[in-house]
């Protein structure tokens, strides 16, 4: 995390620079089924972040060495578009996107009923079109909705949310400035129906009490985002009925 307390992130009135309360999330909107070529797709707008996910499959897994005899493999690619950040990103994989792809795939494998599709592969493509802190969470949320849109059986969806700490205060859903100059970031993937956690990362400095509070905020936000995810999927079916 960046400089410790050298940038003011909380106003005199206790609100954050963008006027949010400490436990207030940025606005989230979700659309399902936006990419006609994909088997399932979703777009998540979370604050200024825009994440798109496409799902292809289940399909034959190849090369054969990646096949699993008893279950499907989930092949996730998280990628930031060259124009998604302030400075252009050179196209192609980097260490950050590889790591995020790996842990996202493992999280999704914990909710998708992979044992139903032995030797198969399910491709999940996450494209970040605009980034302003919190893209991995928006990507996980988008991937979950896209998997559901593709009709792939899952135990639960995963909601990506993050809390963190700025100026010694725990806050929900860090924006860009808070992420750059804050003291901690705790992105998690929550299963809203079971209350379990499938994705967990953290960096910075949190006391045990601060961790508990950050998690409490995350669970509260996950409930709110889950409703938006369900609405997006319902809207998709209302659309196709007409």
């Amino acid at each position: 995390m960046g400089g410790y307390g050298d940038v003011q992130l909380l106003r005199e009135d206790g609100l954050r620079l963008d006027g949010r309360k400490v436990d207030e999330m940025r606005p989230v909107s979700i659309q399902a089924g936006i990419l006609p070529a994909a088997d399932g797709s979703a777009m998540v707008t979370h604050g200024l972040n825009v994440a798109v996910a496409a799902v292809y499959g289940p399909m034959e897994a190849h090369p054969r060495k990646i096949q699993r005899q008893d279950r499907a493999v989930i092949d996730v690619r998280y990628n930031m578009a060259p124009f998604s950040t302030s400075d252009r990103i050179r196209p192609g994989f980097n260490r950050r996107s590889r790591e995020i792809s790996k842990v996202t795939a493992e999280s999704l494998e914990s909710v998708v009923l992979v044992e139903r599709y032995p030797r198969a592969k399910i491709r999940v493509e996450i494209e970040i079109l605009a980034a302003e802190a919190g893209t991995r969470c928006a990507g996980i949320t988008a991937a979950s909705v896209a998997l559901a849109d593709a009709g792939i059986p899952m135990r639960d969806m995963i909601v990506g949310v993050a809390s963190g700490k700025i100026e010694g205060t725990v806050v929900l859903d860090l924006d860009k400035a808070e992420d750059n100059y804050g003291q901690a970031d705790l992105p998690v993937g929550i299963l809203p129906n079971t209350g379990e956690i499938a994705f967990l990362q953290m960096d910075g400095d949190l006391s045990p009490e601060e961790y508990d509070l950050a998690m409490e905020y995350n669970f509260k936000a996950a409930g709110e985002i889950h409703e938006i995810m369900v609405d997006a999927l319902k809207a998709r079916y209302e659309e196709s009925e007409n």
Binding site: A37, V50, E60, N79, S84, T85, P91, R123, E127
Partner: protein
């Protein structure tokens, strides 16, 4: 994954062609419904989203400051690249840029560059020291056929909305990038023996060679490309060139109307 040879599809489009019909019910030179949105990506200095039928494409413009080429000390540069990432279709695989994506990016690049709509001298900040590099990145999110036209339209629409981020680079005030012209691409594919405009996915699969024509504001040609296996006659080209003139003029009007609003 290799595409299976779509023999039945070939037969079907050929059968339809005999009745001068198309698989999705369009006229021979009728385009699909399309939408154009500009200024739709937060971190890009110019952006556009184009949907054409089942095709969805985004383009974003970024700027960087670079040192000019020694032989052209007062000229900036323009680069246009396209990515055909696996998100766009199950046929695309991860890996280094494929020949198709390189062709796509270069054909769009030539149309914009050769139309002269960007004056490279206007991209100079300090001669011999600092010039702007303009980069248009095209991101195909859903390939439902004729991504060339969608990419060409998204690229020029994004470029025409671009704002030079001079303040962020500490070289003066932000200003709208001067763009003098709207080069537009029109693409044709041979399906069932004759050329059709704006092929959908099935027509590309069951068709043969394709021709891409980019036309500027004055009706002049700025880029041509023939792709895939096949040959054509001058008479065939003359026919589609006329169609392209009209199509490009129509699309140019849509871009202008979008900007006026």
């Amino acid at each position: 994954m290799p595409q299976l040879v779509p023999n039945l599809l070939r037969q079907e489009v050929a059968r339809l062609a005999e009745q001068d019909a198309r698989i999705d019910g369009r006229e021979r030179f009728e385009g699909r419904d399309f939408t154009l949105e500009t200024d739709c990506l937060y971190n890009a200095e110019g952006s556009a989203k184009v949907t054409m039928g089942k095709t969805v494409v985004y383009a974003g413009v970024k700027f960087e400051i670079r040192t000019p080429w020694p032989d052209r000390p007062a000229e900036g540069s323009l680069m246009c690249g396209a990515e055909l990432r696996p998100v766009a279709h199950r046929k695309y695989e991860p890996g280094p840029p494929s020949p198709q994506s390189i062709e796509l990016g270069r054909v769009v690049d030539r149309g914009i560059r050769e139309s002269g709509c960007i004056d490279m001298n206007s991209l100079c900040i300090i001669p011999g020291e600092k010039v702007w590099g303009v980069m248009i990145d095209i991101h195909v999110l859903s390939d439902g056929g004729n991504i060339f036209d969608a990419c060409g339209l998204a690229a020029i629409a994004a470029l025409r909305t671009a704002v030079v981020p001079a303040e962020r680079f500490d070289v003066g005030e932000d200003y709208t990038l001067p763009v003098n012209g709207t080069p537009i691409m029109a693409s044709f594919t041979r399906v069932g023996g004759r050329y059709i405009y704006d092929p959908c996915e099935e027509e590309e699969l069951g068709g043969d060679e394709r021709i891409h024509i980019t036309i500027g504001d004055e009706g002049h040609l700025h880029s041509l490309q023939k792709g895939l296996r096949g040959v054509f006659t001058p008479a065939e080209f003359a026919e589609i060139f006329k169609v392209a003139q009209n199509k490009c003029a129509e699309l140019r009007k849509v871009v202008a109307e979008k900007e006026a609003n």
